[in-house]
């Protein structure tokens, strides 16, 4: 039977979907495992554990071999007391594995699928009643919603007072009895609904049995930046997805969420709220339990002792070849799909390796089917759009699986594996470069798993690379590509754009791609790029120079009368206290002044009123903006584009010089006549 949801309530509740949705409660009291290097030193504690928590001697399997210890039927609090009493001598396992996940892994069943199908099939089916709730009120500044669209087979519009709308919404949900609720800002609205429902004696209809699980809000570091996760109220028996906050849903849609749940063994409610890193980590945990390997509670296995020289040799990252800034025609990007996970699989890299030479390592064997599935979805998404969401999810999970090998709290990570992966990747990139050059290609640029080359016979090159290196290399052709310069004139590694054969433009690192670019500037750059896309050759770019320049001039002319909201800058804040005055700090203060609580990792959206004196308004309250500041941003975006026309030094166009003569009517956007076209 198809499992829709799972939860722990003194046993495992599994919600099965079989025509209707029903809950089955499974009695389940799993033990955690305890290993003591010298049990006799703790004989009193062991006696007590036997008496109180049915502790029994047993042998259990860790990643590094079997251990003789004890199984203890108790919870995390007891495990932490054991840690305290043994002063770190005790090794504990399976303490913090989610019990519903563990139950499913032990039974070899999984969410969002039937037990008799493959978890790794992208063609899974589901027959679920879905409803989408679009709430148009701003959740941070509204206590109740007054403008709601409820989309099912037809769209219901709910408008009016907060009480009317919420009551109608509850009634409709009750009547529809959906399995999946897609709701904008669900995690911000649900606590408000609960407070309101309690106050008015209403029953919230989101849960099928009235139970809600609470996930606390938290700020955390991820890939060098602070992220924030709102608290969430998770209903039992239904899938509630926050369509705005869920990264997995944004990237992978409902299929992506369900695939994440199938792989990780987590309820789709959790899978939609977790990061790809947590998902890959959960997938490893599920696989470990399924294979009878216990999961360490604390990460105590430290890297091996090494010589200073060997550390210096090993501790490097990915390989880069710096490009020469400029415009190049007929360039091919050779890309290794899922390079790092493929290296783990191909070279059998795993924390317990070297182990038995005839056995595949845990990490390699766990990732192998996911890498194969990604290959299938990447190939299939061109023909079947349904694969696109799953492919995107897998891409992110596989990207993070490499980082997790070096993450301090990764259950199955090890820094030596992390270093071995980057070492192999460097060798592969250099080997690929050598193969390309031996076939007469000119290598323009390279980043970790990509190489940009100029030459003919790229299909043969890829075939040779695939044959000699054993990893799947694909190529993407650019009719032309612009590698932008750094301030010192050398090429930037990660800022480029180029035309693909289908007429679209692939961009990386420029304003049109950046999340904090104001909409007005992003649109300007996108318009420019769409015109540049009509040029099929680098020489053809010269012919579109004037229309592109006119877009810039129009953007300057129209800037003073632009609505402030179009100039809002959205940023994720990394802190809430600032030692120096800065725009971001002023924005945080503006949010506080508006009565909103701010936590690190949250996204804020603001308009700069006066950059010189650090005056900033929240997006919704902005009425004016600093013209000079935004002109600076506009020019920066223009410089990224205009480089394509002036990179070879032939940019002395009188028309461009005239840009400096454009006159600005003061620092307010109000009362200015705007020009639609030059």
């Amino acid at each position: 039977m198809w499992i829709l949801d799972s939860a722990w309530h003194n046993g495992v509740d599994l919600w099965y979907r079989n025509g209707s949705t029903k809950c089955w409660h499974h009695e389940y009291d799993p033990p955690f495992y305890l290993y003591l290097p010298d049990p006799s030193a703790y004989h009193e504690m062991i006696d007590e554990l036997k008496e109180r928590y049915c502790a029994e001697t047993c042998t259990f399997r860790t990643l590094f071999g079997d251990l003789d210890g004890f199984s203890v039927h108790a919870d995390r609090a007891v495990a932490e007391l054991i840690e305290l009493q043994t002063k770190g001598d005790a090794q504990l396992f399976n303490v913090d594995v989610r019990r519903d996940q563990r139950f499913m892994a032990e039974q070899d069943i999984f969410p969002c699928g039937n037990a008799d199908e493959s978890r790794y099939s992208p063609d899974f089916q589901y027959d679920l009643r879905q409803v989408e709730i679009r709430i148009h009120d701003p959740p941070a500044r509204s206590s109740l919603c007054t403008d709601v669209e409820l989309v099912q087979e037809r769209t219901e519009l709910l408008q009016g007072t907060g009480h009317t709308v919420v009551t109608d919404l509850f009634s409709l949900l009750e009547a529809i009895d959906p399995d999946v609720i897609l709701m904008s800002q669900a995690d911000m609205w649900m606590p408000k609904f609960r407070v309101y429902a309690r106050g008015k004696g209403l029953v919230m209809p989101f849960s099928r049995n009235g139970n809600y699980r609470q996930m606390d809000s938290r700020s955390y570091w991820s890939y060098g930046r602070v992220e924030h996760k709102d608290a969430a109220l998770i209903p039992d028996g239904r899938v509630l997805i926050d369509t705005d906050q869920s990264f997995v849903y944004r990237e992978g849609g409902l299929d992506g969420v369900f695939m994440a749940a199938r792989l990780s063994g987590l309820s789709p409610n959790l899978a939609s709220r977790f990061t790809p890193g947590t998902l890959i980590s959960s997938y490893e945990v599920y696989e470990a339990v399924r294979r009878g390997i216990v999961v360490p509670f604390r990460k105590a296995d430290v890297e091996a002792v090494r010589k200073f020289a060997s550390l210096q040799a090993a501790d490097r990252g990915g390989m880069m070849f710096q490009p020469a800034a400029g415009v190049y025609g007929n360039v091919d990007e050779i890309d290794f799909a899922s390079m790092y996970p493929s290296i783990i699989v191909k070279f059998n890299l795993s924390p317990e390796i070297p182990g038995p030479p005839d056995r595949k390592g845990f990490l390699a064997s766990v990732l192998e089917p996911v890498v194969a599935l990604r290959r299938e979805t990447k190939r299939g998404k061109k023909a079947n759009s349904r694969y696109a969401g799953i492919d995107s999810l897998l891409k992110w999970m596989l990207v993070t699986c490499f980082g997790y090998t070096g993450y301090k709290n990764a259950k199955f990570g090890r820094i030596e594996v992390h270093e071995a992966i980057t070492r192999r990747s460097r060798e592969i990139l250099v080997q690929t470069k050598d193969i390309a050059e031996s076939r007469g290609f000119c290598v323009l640029h390279g980043i970790v798993d990509c190489l940009w080359v100029q030459g003919t016979g790229v299909d043969d090159l890829c075939a040779e690379v695939n044959r000699k290196i054993g990893l799947s290399a694909e190529n993407e052709h650019f009719d032309w590509i612009v590698f932008l310069p750094l301030s010192d004139g050398f090429g930037a590694y990660n800022r480029y754009y180029g035309r693909l054969p289908d007429g679209s433009v692939k961009v990386r690192g420029i304003a049109a791609r950046r999340h904090d670019t104001p909409g007005y500037i992003r649109i300007m750059q996108q318009e420019m790029l769409s015109i540049m896309a009509t040029a099929r050759t680098p020489a053809g770019l010269g012919q579109v120079r004037d229309p592109v320049y006119r877009i810039y001039c129009n953007a300057i002319r129209n800037l003073p009368c632009t609505a402030p909201a179009a100039l809002a800058i959205s940023r994720r804040i990394s802190r809430t206290t600032y030692s120096h005055r800065c725009i971001e700090g002023a924005a945080v203060q503006a949010y506080r002044d508006a009565g909103l609580e701010i936590a690190p990792g949250m996204k804020i959206s603001y308009v700069v009123r006066d950059a010189r004196t650090y005056r900033v308004d929240p997006e919704w309250a902005a009425e004016r903006f600093d013209l000079a500041y935004y002109r600076g941003l506009l020019d920066k975006a223009w410089n990224e584009i205009s480089y394509a026309f002036r990179w070879d030094g032939h940019d002395s166009c009188g028309e461009w010089k005239a840009q400096k003569e454009l006159i600005f009517p003061g620092f307010s956007h109000q009362g200015t006549e705007c020009v639609q076209d030059l």
Partner: protein
């Protein structure tokens, strides 16, 4: 076996010493002691060492281990059989792991019965203070604000006794 941290301050084998000092002082102690190469030394640091890249040690007796969690630090200390154990304190190891402050401090003290154990930090923090409670000695070398002598500055004036002045003592030349 002993290490001279500064003139008059020596660290001996069989002790656990907590040291707070500016980075150049500790780097000098590690880099300018050729005798250290004769002893098996272990350098323990977290993921973001401030001094590791500036240590000039090519001796095969100089070994490194990087614990990224307090549990790993505890394991590394228990497994260490080196003559010198140098720990660059990383307070982030103890984020959410206060429970290990006492066991790690005890492990440092135990290791200090045989080896020369140095727990180093440039500044005091809460977890360092907790670990240093078990140390035989706590040494704090305070940066006095003296400008460092860079070898290029030459004072052209001569001292009455013919000795050239230390650049940092310009204001004292009347004496």
């Amino acid at each position: 076996m002993l290490i001279m941290l500064r003139k008059g301050i020596t660290l001996r084998q069989g002790t656990f010493t907590a040291v707070i000092a500016p980075e150049p002082v500790i780097l000098s102690a590690l880099n300018d002691n050729p005798d250290l190469g004769r002893f098996l030394s272990l350098f323990l640091c977290g993921n973001y060492s401030r001094i590791l890249s500036r240590i000039n040690r090519t001796s095969s007796n100089f070994e490194i281990r990087r614990p990224f969690t307090a549990d790993q630090l505890l394991t590394a200390l228990k497994e260490a059989g080196h003559t010198i154990i140098f720990i660059e304190h990383d307070p982030t190891l103890f984020d959410g792991a206060d429970r290990l402050l006492i066991p790690v401090a005890a492990a440092l003290r135990d290791a200090g019965h045989e080896a020369l154990v140095i727990l180093y930090a440039p500044v005091m923090d809460r977890s360092f203070a907790a670990l240093a409670c078990q140390a035989d000695r706590l040494i704090e070398i305070v940066h006095t604000g003296e400008p460092a002598y860079n070898g290029q500055y030459q004072d052209n004036r001569s001292h009455p006794q013919g000795r050239s002045l230390v650049p940092a003592q310009k204001t004292l030349e009347v004496f």
